[in-house]
Amino acid sequence: MKNIIETKKLCKTFSNGGVQQHVLRNVNLEIYEGDFTIIMGASGAGKSTLLYSLSGMDKPTLGSVSFCGTEITKMNTDELALFRRSNCGFVFQQVYLVESMSVLDNIMAAGLLVYKDKRTLLNKAGEILKAVDIDEPLWNKFPTQISGGEAQRVGIARALINDPKLVFADEPTGALNSHTGKAVLDTLTKFNEKGQSIVMVTHDITSARRGNRILYVKDGEIAGECNLGKYVTGDKERHQKLNDFLAKMGW
């Protein structure tokens, strides 16, 4: 299977008042194309730090990250920004839509960085919004005028607008209730089934079940890995396998 990301001896250390905190320790891993990779772990284990280091949002202290063969750890902040435009999509727990922009403009603001033809982009935005179940009447609403679930699905649409090679999702259901959270997961699953590679950080087992590959982070290291195979609704054997893995990891 073709890898999208490959890290070598990835380390991240934070200094606070002279005290050094090693959040990531020599992480070596690969993220594969088409996978729905889940990063799990306890609070403070380094999940989000790993996610943002993989995506070029944060710079590791040591080690390297190669994205489709290009080492992104050597890029400066502007090069990383240009890199993220067409390679990465982000879905955040707090959604982070620009509140002064309409739903459609939030999508356009990301899309216009890549698309030169506004008409094409507009059609694409419409398709994606419909695909995430955001109907046209909501397109001109502002983020504060729609529900949390709808906002998160708009966030997913924004992450997907530039056809990124990889979507990074940081606890996308963390701020949602179970019903709206499920809808968001369904959306991500739907796009993954269409071939979209996704890396998602979560500490929620229900969310983790959607992935086909589970990485467990403990004390800044990949403590274990579990391959669940393709997600099928109600697959109890798959659920049990995940539970056993997490139990083994000390979850």
Partner: protein
Amino acid sequence: MNKTLLLTKSNLRKNRGTSVGLFLLMVIATCLIGISLLIFMDCYPSVSREAVRLKGGDGYISITGDLEGFTDEKIAELFEDDTDSYYAYHDLKLSNHPVAFGNGEVVISVDICDDSAFERPMNTFEVITEDSSIADNYVYLPYQFNTSGGFKTGDVFEIDNSGKTYSYTVKGFTNVVYGGCNNTALFALVLDNDSYETLWNDTHEEFENINVIYDLKDGVKNGEFRIRTFNEILKVSPLAVTEGYDIDGVISNRTFIGLIIAVSFLVATSLIIVAIAMMLANSISNYIKENMKTLGALKAIGYTGKDIKSSLVVWFLVIAVLSSIIGIVLAYLVMPVFASIVIGQMGVPYVESFNLLATLIPIVYVILFTLVVTVICANKISKILPIVALREGVESHNFKKNHVALSKSSLSLNASLAMKTFFSNMKQNVITFIVLGFMVFCCVISLLLYENFSRKPKLDILTTEICAGVVTSDYDTREEVLEYLENRSDIKNIREIINMNVYYNDEESLFCYIVKDLSKMNNKNLCYKGRLPEYDNEIAVSGSFAKAYGFGIGDEIKIDYGDNSYDYLITGFIQTTNNSGREAILSYKAADHIMDIDNIPGWYWFDLTNESDDVDENIDEVNRIIEECEDKYGNHIISTMNFYKMIGGAMTTFQGISVMMLIVMCSISVVVIALILYLLIKSLVYHKRRDYGIYKALGYTSGSLMLQTAMSFMPSVIASAIVFSIVSYNVANPYISMFMRAFGLMKCDFAIPVPGVVAIAAGLTVVSFFLALLQTRRIKKIEAYNMLVAE
């Protein structure tokens, strides 16, 4: 530590940028107020103080021409009754004499005395600086020759008379009440006794002069006394020529540049104060928004709204106190620079001294102003409920309209996003619009001063009529000289204009231009209301004179000259900065009612047929014409004037100040705009840091976000530059005329070069953009990851 001080300390620490920005604005404001007040209260009064110290009395009268009959007893008879004391002395006086000064020459009365001038009981001369190694053939010049006339000790100073040149070495410079400033139309020189004796022997028959300095009794009006005395003098000798000044007029003429500087600074300060008020309000509003949770927490643990408000008040008061003290210290430090320009015109030595009122007023003003604005703006803190504050004020985002929809906008992405930012920050836009507009206005006013006082001096504010030169012939040759001049091809528009002092109601003298053909006058702006006189019963008088005596157009005015008087109809008002704004215009036939107009010398004003753009060429050309005229008619030519040369000298004192004002105002504008943009952008970036984090996560570079943010200020900057350029262009003249009325200029029509205004507007726009871009650098420090995980 007191809880208010604890909060204040925290505020100062957390809001260093805002504190520093406001501090600098307040320093500038206090400094400018301080300079203005020091000029008003310390520099300006030094002229009066010196007048008292050097015993200038209430005025002086000089008598030249026929001095037959003016014995000591006669002088006593003329002056004793109305004065407490007087002092009369004889010296030499050259009327309307060209004297090298600054970049050219001034045509002025020159009073020449011997060494005894330093020991007189009244109008005493005092040496300010001298070169004691110069022992003979020397001259002491008034201090203004040193401060703006371009002379230094050791230079050669020349006096020309009837083709003979007297050269003297400048030994030093003097402080003198009368004759110390070109604006008072008199320069007083002191020669060494031997040189004076030589000059006296050569010229006293023609130029002997009696000066009388007097101190009036209480209740005697200076104007009335002077005119009454003039008439008495003419009774003694009809051929005597009188001249006189009252001390108030002299002081006013010596200080009006100082007044212009002081008023200009006060205006600029008032605009900066408005900016400070807006920034204080904005800072407090931002503080409340940014610290809503903290405010809630403080209230929850028992702090009252008053406690929190007090901390804000103390915070801004600390800034106000520190900045006002530093501002006033700065005012004292830079005062010598401004004083040197004011001294250039005053011609009075000024030693900067501590002035309690000028020191306290700016400090108290800035502190009180800050206190009032802060208390008013911080009032809303009392109304915030703790629970609401803890919920961050339950901000309801009320975006009524999606401005510049990206799906529809034809602008580029950066421009579209900049416009979105623009529409969502209307408060900042209003502040930017107003502050930049005020700065445009200040710069346009400075441009007006520079253009009309320095680059292309507006000559008709200095003189009632503009020409290239004037030749005055005696009565015997008047027809011949006129014919000669009219036959010359290198000059044109020869017009006969005589100057005479006429009187109104024994109270006021009017410097009267008696014009043979008014249609030939070059100064078409002379009459700002009504019209120039056409018939023999008509007169035009200066507006300031009319205002002082309540005359309107169509009123009758009785004008006296010697024993004659006539009632004229006022047809219009003229404006002038000369002769204390007391001037009038009569036609020849109108003047004939009060004087024998056929029995006077010939005064011929002329223009060059081919005027060059090069002033030096014009000066040479007029010199050549005058020399040829003098060669042909010799002593029949009584006096001459090279107008181009005179303007160079007369404008010298104005040029320094106008250039200085332009530089100072533009610099202040740039600094104020930089500070305002700094405060606004700092606040904007802080409030939009979350959005910038999102944009960066999406792949926007720091450069494009900086560009967008800087561009978002541009609509208000451009709108302000355009609107205020147009407003300033139209308002500058009425605005300036408010201040110039005191000097006799009732309706200003100063040239305001459109390219200059456009350059100011464009310049400030470009500067604002780059300053904004510079200050958006803090966006670079926002890292998407840190911002997102911090939330």
